[in-house]
């Protein structure tokens, strides 16, 4: 049994520790194993809080598309820990929507163990009211994992200035011939775009919803069109409508 985390634990620095204590110990990690050469698509939707650990193992040449949507009141945490063997590929799209007093966070630890693997992480956080949203994304490249191609893009949209967004990328690289890119931005909705929409008859909140949906769309792009994607988009639209 692992000990209750504290503020000193890097991966928990932005957590709601009182909520964590109430949830401790967390349920065992969900195992996602994709065997060598296989392909898979996995979804996780969190709408009732809690601590969700995902343990991902990708064999040589395996490919996983992982899509997450967190839209939950209270405290919600998703931890994705992944080991990528030679030439494996991971595509992670994550959307976190936090309003009210919610604290939502995603923590990733993507470990390139063999050469030639690729990982893509697109995290989109939307925070409103007094909510806190955080993304701690770590990419680790093992010695010998040459030709690694890793990218992390984390973007936060702050709908109200009373909300908080924390983005923290971390790279740990022990190979020399690798490509690792990370980009993190925190921003607000574009005022001119909002006015343009309003000037055409769209009310303020509906205009904000339209722009916010466009902002999070990157998180879902890799998901094939179909009922699963529709459901995530509908849940997002519903969350935005609830702001009305």
């Amino acid at each position: 049994m692992t000990a209750l985390p504290s503020r000193r634990d890097e991966a928990w620095r932005y957590s709601d520790l009182a909520a964590v204590a109430a949830l401790w110990p967390p349920p065992p990690a969900r195992q996602i194993v994709v065997r060598a050469g296989e392909q898979r698509e996995e979804l996780l939707r969190v709408h009732a809080g809690g601590i969700h650990d995902l343990r991902v193992d990708l064999g040589a040449g395996a490919a996983l598309t992982l899509v997450l949507l967190v839209e939950s009141p209270g405290y919600a945490r998703v931890f994705v820990e992944a080991d990528l063997a030679d030439a494996a590929s991971l595509d992670l799209g994550a959307v976190l929507l936090a309003g009210g007093d919610a604290t939502s966070e995603i923590v990733t630890d993507i470990r390139h163990q063999g050469p030639g693997a690729s990982s893509r992480q697109r995290v989109r956080l939307v925070v409103d009211e007094r909510a806190t949203g955080s993304c701690l994304g770590r990419i680790a490249v093992a010695r010998g994992a040459q030709k690694t191609d890793a990218a992390l893009s984390a973007r936060a949209l702050v709908l109200k200035r009373t909300a908080t967004a924390n983005l923290k990328p971390e790279l740990e690289i022990f190979a020399d011939d690798v490509q690792c890119a990370h980009g993190c931005t925190v921003g607000e909705l574009d005022k001119s775009a909002l006015f343009y929409l309003q000037s055409r008859g769209i009310g303020r909140v509906e205009a904000e919803a339209l722009l916010t949906r466009a902002f999070v769309a990157d998180g879902f792009t890799r998901l094939k069109a179909g009922p699963a994607r529709d459901a995530l988009e509908a849940a997002t639209a519903q969350w935005l409508e609830a702001r009305l």
């Binding site: 006015f195 205009a207 722009l211 769309a217």
Partner: protein
Amino acid sequence: MKPVPMLEIINLHACVGDKPILKGLSLSVGAGEVHAIMGPNGAGKSTLSYVLAGREGYAVTAGSATFEGADLLAMEPHERAAAGLFLGFQYPVEIPGVSNLLFLRTALNAQKRLRGEAEISGADFMKLVRVESAVLGLDMEMLKRGVNVGFSGGEKKRNEAFQLGMLQPKFALLDETDSGLDIDALRIVSEGINRFRRPDRGVLLITHYQRLLDHVRPDFVHILAGGRIVESGGPELAMRVETEGYEGIAA
């Protein structure tokens, strides 16, 4: 008795930030009329258009503006649109991730809801899109892209004219919709404005060029300088601007 003008602006004063830009501007545009505003760069023409459309950060400090008798300045921007006011932007905005089609359908239906009308069906909407876009030479592939994303300067202006055709407002306030258009596009957009002209509609064109006014004959021409209308006249005033410049006229 003179009927109530569609748009009536009286002694309007407005600031951008702390800076006074409009300094006592008065203007009325009646139904069925086309007015043109010309004036030097920085005179306050776009400021006037933003104030009328309700942009944040443009504070009215004195004066009034009414639209069909209603207090325009008391309305939210989207309410002004639903009331029938359309602003063609001097610099149309790019909105990645929101397609032109989604944008327009959302706008059209939002306006209809505000007016208490039934929403347009998907099929009727697409029919309207096909008719209006064909006239302006915007193809379907472009309309599926993000709003104005990757559009050239002239294409953005054609898109403004397309939106005017789609939304069918009562009043078109067009801020340099002619700038950046090639000769053919200028003719096409002008035809669009002429088709828009009706006895129950008003048009206010902000332009720097006589060329547009050759195609769309205005009833009145005004010169805006230093935040006020300093001279008004008929189409001949635009000719004078062309030959004498603003210095000659203000003198």
